[in-house]
């Protein structure tokens, strides 16, 4: 569900085929389209785009009603026993704490009931009506198979068959993995869809175990790396975050981040936040970051709001942004409502495009006839195009979906005068730094004091940069005093100047630096760990710990202590990850727990060390914008007039906290004009808007098309191969129709709903046949937590051209 691994991640999908062939695994696919993954499945069920929470909520209801949950796991490793405070409530689709004018929730009303020590109250019997388990049970009791079928369009018997398959993995020795991708993220309720999937997995005891997990099949080769390194409006490297403007000093900044444990003796690893933060500030500002100036806290910008991509183009359209830099990014192709994107770029003073390839963004000002009908002379933006190298022409590391940092090597020189990205960025910076040093300007301090120890200042080497993000000792790093022998001379763990071996060595006193704490260990005194190439798998379960290096601490499976029972022995002895051997945790992976944490202790250390609870959250008292339990809401544009769960409450039709701007909300299409449920997606032959520049890909999938089912084709008089017009409330595009049995008409809420499938990949630049950008059609609306646009569920009309 929510992903099409066969098509989008074929080489990873081979391990699904392997599991089918050698472990007799079953593959179940739930998707609006019968995809290439579905072609490989043991069971397929169709679903209406955007109704995944309804489906998964129905699965939760099924598991509870049929007692198909892994009780020991749920009781011990999730917050099912936690008691929720009195302020939490849910009424006709809206949780407590909602402010309709701001379209925002105040999550203070969702907290746990606390005891006098500040710990959350629990009921291990799970009987308290205010415990998470009971609240969850009540919440999803509405998601009956009949209701699921009504909302999703999945026939009831198919839904139940899928439930049976899923439920079969509730035993401790049977596991299911969920592989999802943009099919779940690109919705106004994307984050909550994924949470619902995670809840299903927790109820089944499938997180932290071999072959389990919620596997995000991420997109670009280094999208994981750039997320880890925090290249997002409100982030800092290593999942630290920028201060808000209310947070004027370190104490208020740390408070919501360095979380104290909510249960006795839990690791609540974010307690170490100050160590990671101070080490980052030392990496960036070195000697200029001192205890006296709060480690240069004020050098960081403080946010008033998230400047995500939708916000950026909204501001651009309002004339509030003057300059924009696109590094290997093609927003004209990738962002929704192309018209709004082009009009935004047209209002800039300057646009800089850094890319190995020509893109639609670089040429947004150029008239390409029907595909980009603009008047160049009216566009006053100066556009710079800077050629960069591609993968083959550079060294460096990429972080894959499994969090492995893999080093790669340069094989040839770039064409013409193309330069590597670090050199381009460094050159711009170096020129600005010189200008600030010479002429001054607005707040030059963070610029002129930025550490710049590189041997060639305008062209830092990748080795220097990798060593910097790993981090080093600025002074000798000492071990804490030994409690058994407090008088012994303190031990030196790392000498001044040495590369650090792990983030456990980071300090908040300024004696260490690290540009990204989770990457500490990537380049140690022993050298570049990311370049390791020993592929041996000594345990025979696919754990190649000496191949490349994975964060954190070379651990391959997160929360792997959950692979053992509360007594420290594995749930499944044939597939051990880590276990307690009487003295320490060990096994085929690096234990994700304090190695000395004895499971026999009262208040033992629980496996979910990053949460303040120590356990996983079925109920999220913080962290989610639209409520602690996922609830089904309709997409902004839906073929339904109401949310069938809350037909009388217009406020609960779409996600009440979604990212949406007034004009876009008003311009949304209605079911009357745009009756068909559309979804956009990728094909295996292409990669986004990139491979239309690649001849081999152009040959095997040359021309833009739209996929529709046989019923819709018949109703509209469309034959296979005809040219058709597809329109949304934004605009109209034209392409070839592929009429297929693989897209079925669904019965939704008493009416027939047809689905229109729109592959991306074509545009006005490239060696493939020119086409319209599919994102001309998609709506400018985003998820409430991630602001990711809703490319997967919108509405269109279709006619023969």
């Amino acid at each position: 569900m929510g992903g099409n691994a066969a098509e989008a991640h074929p080489c990873g999908f081979k391990w699904v085929i392997e599991a089918k062939q050698h472990r007799r695994a079953k593959l179940v696919v739930v998707d609006p389209r019968f995809t290439r993954s579905a072609a490989m499945s043991d069971y397929y069920a169709p679903i209406r785009p955007g109704s995944d929470i309804a489906f998964l909520g129905g699965v939760i209801n099924y598991l509870i009603a049929n007692d198909k949950i892994q009780h020991e796991y749920v009781k011990n490793y999730t917050n099912a026993p936690f008691i929720v405070g009195d302020n939490f409530s849910f009424e006709d689709g809206i949780f407590s704490g909602y402010d309709e004018t701001k379209r925002k929730y105040d999550n203070k009303q969702w907290g746990y009931a606390l005891d006098d020590k500040g710990f959350a109250k629990v009921d291990p019997t799970l009987q308290d009506p205010r415990c998470v388990y009971q609240l969850m049970k009540a919440h999803y009791s509405r998601y009956t198979p009949e209701m699921v079928s009504k909302v999703t369009g999945t026939p009831k018997e198919k839904f139940l068959k899928v439930c049976e398959h899923i439920a079969s993995t509730s035993t401790p020795t049977s596991t299911m993995t969920i592989m999802y991708a943009l099919g779940w993220t690109q919705h106004t309720i994307g984050s909550q869809i994924i949470r619902t999937g995670a809840m299903v997995q927790l109820l089944l005891g499938n997180i932290g175990v071999a072959g389990g997990g919620m596997n995000a099949l991420r997109g670009h080769s280094n999208i994981q790396g750039l997320t880890d390194l925090g290249l997002l409006s409100n982030s800092l490297p290593g999942y630290l975050s920028l201060p808000t403007e209310a947070e004027q000093d370190l104490e208020t900044y740390y408070k919501p981040r360095a979380l104290k444990p909510l249960r006795p003796n839990q690791m609540s690893y974010w307690q170490n936040y100050p160590k990671f933060f101070v080490s980052l500030q030392k990496a960036w500002w070195g000697k200029a970051a001192t205890a006296e100036n709060n480690w240069a806290f004020d050098y960081l910008p403080k946010i008033d709001k998230v400047y995500d991509v939708l916000q950026a183009f909204e501001l651009m359209n309002q004339g509030k942004i003057n300059g924009y830099i696109c590094q290997g990014f093609n927003p004209v192709g990738s962002f929704p409502n192309k018209k709004k994107i082009i009009s935004g770029l047209s209002k800039l003073k300057y646009l800089v495009v850094i890319d190995p390839l020509n893109t639609e963004t670089a040429e947004f000002w150029k008239n390409y006839g029907e595909f980009n009908d603009v008047k160049s002379e009216d566009i006053q933006t100066a556009v710079f195009s800077l050629p960069s190298t591609c993968f083959a022409e550079e060294d460096g590391a990429l972080t894959n979906s499994g969090r492995w940092l893999q080093w790669h090597w340069k094989g040839a020189e770039p064409p013409g005068e193309a330069k590597a990205d670090p050199e381009i960025i460094a050159d711009i910076f170096h020129r600005m730094k010189k200008a600030y040093a010479k002429d001054g300007g607005a707040f030059p301090d963070p610029i002129v004091n930025l550490t710049w120890p590189y041997k060639i200042p305008h062209s830092p080497s990748v080795e220097e940069l990798a060593m910097e993000y790993n981090g080093k000792a600025l002074a000798d790093v000492m071990a804490p005093p030994d409690p058994k022998d407090p008088k012994a001379p303190p031990k030196v763990l790392a000498k001044a100047g040495e590369q650090l071996a792990g983030f456990g060595l980071l300090r908040d006193d300024g004696s260490t630096s690290s540009g990204c704490w989770i990457y500490t260990g990537a380049w140690t005194q022993a050298g570049n760990q990311m370049a390791r190439r020993d592929n041996s798998d000594p345990w025979g379960i696919g754990q190649t710990l000496n191949w490349a290096w994975a964060w954190p601490a070379n651990r391959r499976i997160l929360y792997n202590a959950a692979s053992s029972k509360p007594d420290g022995t594995p749930w499944d002895p044939t597939r051990k990850l880590v276990q307690w051997n009487g003295i320490a945790w060990s096994g085929s992976d690096v234990p994700d727990i304090n190695p000395a944490a004895n499971p026999g202790d009262t208040d033992r250390v629980q496996p979910f060390i990053m949460t303040a609870e120590g356990v996983a959250r079925l109920y999220a008292p913080t962290g989610m914008a639209e409520g602690p339990f996922p609830e089904h809401y309709e997409p902004l544009e839906s073929p339904l007039v109401n949310n069938p769960f809350h037909p009388g409450n217009a406020k609960a039709r779409m996600n009440p906290a979604a990212r949406v701007f007034k004009d876009d909300l008003a311009a949304a299409g209605t079911p009357k004009d745009f009756p068909y449920a559309a979804t956009s997606y990728r094909l295996t032959e292409h990669f986004h808007y990139w491979t239309k520049n690649v001849l081999t890909s152009a040959i095997i999938q040359p021309e833009q098309f739209v996929e529709i089912g046989e019923e819709l084709a018949k109703a509209k008089g469309i034959s296979n191969g005809d040219r058709v017009k597809i329109s949304s409330s934004r605009t109209t595009i034209q392409c070839v129709a592929v009429v297929t049995k693989r897209i079925q008409q669904l019965d939704v809420d008493g009416k027939k709903v047809d689905i229109v499938g729109l592959p991306n990949h074509w545009g006005f630049v490239g060696v493939a046949k020119p086409g319209y950008l599919v994102n001309s059609l998609t709506p400018f609306v985003g998820d409430a937590n991630t602001q990711t646009p809703e490319y997967k569920a919108f509405t269109v009309n279709i006619e023969k051209a």
Binding site: H9, C11, G12, G219, I223, L226, L229, L231, L232, S233, L236, P237, E245, Y307, I321, G323, G328, F329, S334, P356, N358, S376, Q380, A382, V383, S385, L386, P387, C390, F391, D395, A397, L398, S401, Q406, W409, G411, A412, E413, P415, E417, D421, P422, I428, Y436, G441, A442, F443, I447, L465, C516, R533, N535, T544, T684, F687, W690, V694, T696, V767
Partner: protein, 195 residues
């Protein structure tokens, strides 16, 4: 003679065969067969990672030349790295066609500028491009930097120039880009993880 290939086949099909030539000693010597010579024999191998999706498949790039001083390496073949634990030598249709990305006719070779209102690109030098860009950025930052908000709180932010970063670029690129842009106070800053 008005006889095309198909007619020829029809007319002569049952009665003639060039195999009869062999009896007359026409053909065997030149008819010896050789398979196409193996094109990778002494090529230089370089290990890399596929730049498309985040499965992170290992690849081997084969280039002409042994990296001697007088040679310019040219990658002429790419295939999967059989040692890699994830892909074990396999590649999807995009990965298998990486060669055509490296040598795409749409690869950019020189800095260019499109001036305001213009209909075309103009080639410029790196120095000119960098000088102009750095100047534009500094002017914009100096004019629009916000040191304190309306409440008098220190905010030190710059929101009138933004950037989208490449999530197909390396960690080292990502790291230096973040370090540099954040030092300027930039907040309109994202990568493909958002979409």
């Amino acid at each position: 003679m008005e006889m095309n290939r198909r007619q020829f086949f029809k007319v002569t099909g049952a009665g003639l065969s060039t195999s009869t030539l062999v009896a007359l000693g026409f053909s065997p010597a030149p008819a010896l067969a050789e398979t196409r010579s193996f094109k990778l024999a002494k090529a230089t191998e370089t290990r890399n990672t596929c730049p498309y999706c985040s499965v992170g498949c290992g690849i081997i790039m084969y280039s002409v030349g042994d990296k001697a001083k007088n040679v310019k390496s040219e990658i002429f073949h790419i295939e999967g790295d059989p040692d890699h634990p994830v892909n074990r030598g396999t590649l999807c249709p995009k990965g298998a066609g990486l060669l055509d990305f490296v040598h795409s006719p749409n690869r950019l070779k020189y800095p260019q500028v499109r001036e305001a209102g213009s209909k075309e690109w103009k080639r410029i030098s790196w120095d000119e491009a960098m000088t102009r860009i750095a100047k534009l950025m500094k002017e914009d930052r100096d004019a629009n930097f916000v040191a304190k908000n309306a409440d008098g709180k220190t905010v030190n932010r710059w929101t009138t120039t933004g950037m989208l970063c490449a999530s197909a670029s390396s960690n080292e690129t990502g790291y230096i880009t973040h370090k540099v842009m954040r030092s300027m106070g930039m907040l309109v800053f994202d990568n493909q993880a958002r979409v």
